[in-house]
């Protein structure tokens, strides 16, 4: 049985790199990521409602404000900083899918995970996934357009 009390050194696999961190059980993953300078995951509600803190664990989106950092030991964590050249990033730009950008890292990670697990996602599935995140600038239509367009592109490229 593994036991952690007080500060202890552990390894977190973040964006493909093993990072050693000294943490205590009360720290959320969001706190730890931000303390490492990975500030793409944002503090919004810290209550699981807004999705601005979303990161991927083993390719699925989770809200890092509701996850203890210790829960992520031994898993693959992907933050927006590690999402290099995702096709969705360009799609968000070309569809004007953000204004202030606070929600954008969370949305991009959700889209990335969606494209891994449901590359053929229908409108209902896309809506279901996007409902996990809130955009205070209300770019919902633009975000949906960007996602649909990019999923279609990815599928067509695969077929070709």
């Amino acid at each position: 049985m593994i036991e952690y009390n007080d500060y202890q050194k552990v390894y977190l696999n973040i964006n493909g790199e093993n990072r050693s961190v000294i943490i205590k059980p009360a720290q959320t993953l969001l706190d730890v990521l931000r303390s490492l300078g990975l500030t793409g995951a944002k503090k919004g509600c810290e209550n699981g409602d807004c999705g601005s803190c979303t990161v991927l664990i083993n390719s699925y989106p989770i809200k890092s404000c509701l996850t203890l950092a210790l829960e992520a030991v031994g898993k693959q964590i992907l933050t927006i900083e590690g999402l290099k050249n995702s096709p969705f990033q360009q799609a968000f730009v070309s569809h004007n899918a953000f204004q202030c950008g606070y929600c954008t890292p969370g949305f991009l990670l959700v889209c990335h995970s969606l494209s891994i697990h449901y590359p053929n996602a229908d409108d209902q599935t896309i809506a279901h996934w996007l409902q996990s995140n809130i955009c205070r600038c209300t770019c919902y239509q633009e975000i949906t357009n960007a996602v649909k367009c990019k999923l279609k592109d990815i599928l067509q490229t695969k077929k070709a």
Binding site: E3, A26, D31, N47, G51, P61, I62, L66, T67, L68
Partner: protein, 260 residues
């Protein structure tokens, strides 16, 4: 960060988790079993609860399995809602859990978390009530199976130190024709105004509802006639009379759909 310190344990077996809980309790260490942890973290952060030890049960094999034994469908307490929906082993339960919280949180909330947590709606309970599920509980080095109907009105559902290992349902019953609808006030992601589940067995429909009272329950024609409006939830989401109106409307919809 949670505003209090605690120890975090990762037991690998039921017996490790059980004896650890007993030991910590004896030492007044205020242990809790930690599954998805969403409620413990959110309530802990705002000072609603504190605990001295979190026993993370997600590494215990029995709690993580989804099994089809041929006779029964078995789902472990630490299986997350997304895994239940994707497995499609119990389609009605899958449909229900897909509407609990949002898609991202469904990767974290566990079956046991929804059934045992402090949020009164416990929608995952509805299919289990309709299909007379058994709940397997671990306590003091032994497991026992209890009918969900003997349990669902208890608060809290389990005693301190009891661990929900798995739920079991008759596989044949999971194939019965079913209906599910969650009516919310305005946003799609919200607590239910009314969530209704129904199954049809031998031309007879059974209903279970969440959002009517402060606990999920089975409802039949008789209890529908005798609803005590003073017991019905009356809050910022909806008045009691509107909830009853929606319930009756949903029952009609279920009836129409299941007999069409």
């Amino acid at each position: 960060m949670l505003p209090f310190d605690f120890c975090y344990y990762l037991p690998r077996s039921l017996s490790q988790a059980g004896s650890l809980f007993e030991k910590l309790q004896k030492n007044s260490a205020k242990p809790v079993f930690f599954g998805g942890g969403t409620e413990l973290i959110s309530r802990g952060r705002v000072g609603n609860i504190t605990f001295g030890a979190a026993i993370d049960v997600k590494s215990i094999h029995e709690l993580r399995q989804i099994k089809d034994t041929g006779k029964e469908i078995v789902i472990g307490g630490a299986v997350c809602l997304r895994e239940i929906a994707e497995s499609n082993v119990f389609p009605l339960l899958g449909a229900v859990v897909k509407r609990i919280a949002d898609n991202t949180i469904q990767n974290k909330i566990t079956l046991a978390g929804n059934l045992l947590g402090g949020i009164i709606y416990r929608e995952a309970m509805l299919p289990l009530l309709l299909l007379d599920a058994k709940v397997v509980i671990y306590e003091k080095n032994s497991t026992k199976a209890v009918g969900i109907k003997d349990l669902y009105l208890k608060t809290p559902l389990l005693n301190e130190g009891q661990l929900l290992v798995e739920i079991r349902v008759d596989k044949q019953k999971t194939c019965l024709p079913w209906f599910h609808n969650k009516v919310v006030k305005s946003e799609k992601i919200d607590y239910p105004l009314i969530t209704l589940c129904a199954v049809k067995e031998n031309s007879c429909i059974k209903y279970a509802v969440s959002g009517l009272y402060n606990h999920p329950c089975i409802i039949d024609k008789e209890s529908l006639k005798n609803i005590d409006i003073n017991q019905v939830l009356d809050d910022h989401i909806s008045s009691a009379s509107y909830r009853v109106h929606i319930l009756k409307q949903q029952i009609q919809n279920a009836h129409k759909e299941l007999f069409s």
